[in-house]
């Protein structure tokens, strides 16, 4: 059985060595938890993965929570999450403090001037790459378009958009079901 410290250590390794965000952790988690430690079957792993994706929050942290909980209860969940985020938090904090000291340096500013449009492009691109697997069609593409316009032009809160969209999806599904039932 997985010990608390073993759980912490496994997730510490996974969190410390993945560049490129939460989804990049999936293959590492599978290798460490399913193949090496054999704490979970492949099927269990995929089940927890789909739940972690559906739940709100940070995907990698949800994975750590659900896997830690499955293996060693609440404390296991806490140890797994701590292990997963400790190194990333310390690394980014160190850089945050460091960069602040060099913010007025001309070379640093030149480098960031080059990086800023790159970052905006890196945020814009997933709109199109994610669209492929999101179920976007000609019939429903007005939803993201209206959402973007409301936030960008009218300053509507994205949180409000999420609430309305979730409720809308629920009601639309119910209406569709009723129509199909009566037809």
């Amino acid at each position: 059985m997985a010990g608390y410290f073993e759980l912490f250590w496994s997730f510490f390794k996974i969190g410390s060595f993945t560049l490129g965000g939460g989804f990049a952790m999936i293959p590492l988690m599978e290798k460490e938890l399913v193949l090496r430690k054999q704490w979970l079957s492949k099927e269990e792993f995929l089940d927890l993965l789909s739940v972690s994706q559906a739940m709100p929050g940070v995907f990698a942290v949800n994975m750590a929570t659900s896997i830690g909980y499955r293996l060693r209860g609440k404390r296991g969940a806490i140890m797994s999450v701590l292990g997963n985020i400790l190194m990333p938090i310390l690394t980014i904090l160190f850089l945050a403090i460091f960069i602040r000291y060099f913010r007025d340096n001309a070379v640093v500013e030149s480098i960031f001037k080059g990086i800023r449009p790159c970052v905006v492009a890196l945020i814009a691109a997933p709109v199109f790459t994610m669209a492929k697997n999101s179920g976007l069609t000609w019939q429903n593409c007005w939803i993201p378009l209206v959402a973007a316009a409301l936030i960008w032009l009218l300053g509507i809160s994205p949180v409000l958009i999420i609430i309305v969209a979730g409720a809308g999806g629920f009601i639309y599904g119910r209406i569709k079901d009723r129509k199909e039932a009566s037809a």
Binding site: S16, L19, G21, G22, F23, M25, S50, V51, P56, G57, V58, F59, A60, T65, A77, V81, I85, P88, I89, T91, I92, L93, L95, A96, I97, R100, S110, K113, G114, I115, R116, P117, C118, A121, L122, I123, A124, A125, P126, V127, T129, M130, A131, G135, I143, P144, V146, A147, A148, I151, W152, P158, I161, I162, I163, G168, G169, F170, G173, D177
Partner: protein, 193 residues
């Protein structure tokens, strides 16, 4: 009191984030830049850049860095900034963590529930709009330079944006490499002019 606001804001960001790291960047951007004005769009963009180059989930990295910046920008001691960093990352995971413990079991049993499926499929396409809005809100003169005041920066920024955007659509190129290359171009061109 900024710490209470940080706690509340990042709790909200955590619980309303459906759709991964980029959706979370969009939510954080809207709260910390547009609504609370804790930092400029430029500062936020720099935070995202650094967050993509360091290990770990991007949502955690951006929350930590933004928490630090918000507190230090408000005029507090850098050590309180460190507290702000921990508070922001703690808050962003708090509610999803509790929800996960309470609901994971239920969700596993009911993962084919029609209502849940309808809600999630609508949210999946809606977050595309959220991310698009974040990109649009970050495409400012502060990040790109302005045509009248700094034409060189403006045109070079457009070129970098277009190249990175097209390369990212092909997916295989690492964002870290793209950030490093853009930084090198900036360092060389702006350093010499």
């Amino acid at each position: 009191m900024i710490f209470w606001k940080l706690f509340y804001t990042f709790c909200k960001i955590g619980i309303f984030n459906f759709g991964g790291g980029y959706a979370m960047i969009a939510l954080i951007q809207n709260e910390v830049v547009e609504k609370q004005a804790w930092m400029t769009a430029q500062e936020f963009t720099d935070i995202v850049a650094v967050s993509q180059m360091t290990p770990g989930p991007i949502g955690i990295n951006v929350a930590t860095y933004a928490g630090y910046t918000a507190v230090v920008n408000a005029g507090y001691d850098p050590w309180l900034g460190v507290a702000g960093a921990f508070l922001a990352s703690f808050s962003v995971i708090l509610l999803p963590f509790i929800l996960m413990l309470l609901l994971a079991h239920y969700l596993l049993k009911h993962k084919d529930n029609r209502d849940l499926k309808n809600i999630f499929s609508t949210l999946r396409i809606t977050v595309l709009g959220l991310i698009a809005a974040a990109a649009l809100l970050l495409a400012t003169p502060a990040n790109f330079g302005s045509l009248s005041q700094s034409p060189l920066q403006f045109y070079l920024s457009l070129a970098i944006f277009a190249i990175v955007f097209l390369l990212s659509l092909k997916k295989k190129i690492s964002p870290i490499l793209l950030i490093l290359l853009s930084g090198a171009v900036g360092g060389i061109v702006y350093g010499m002019c």
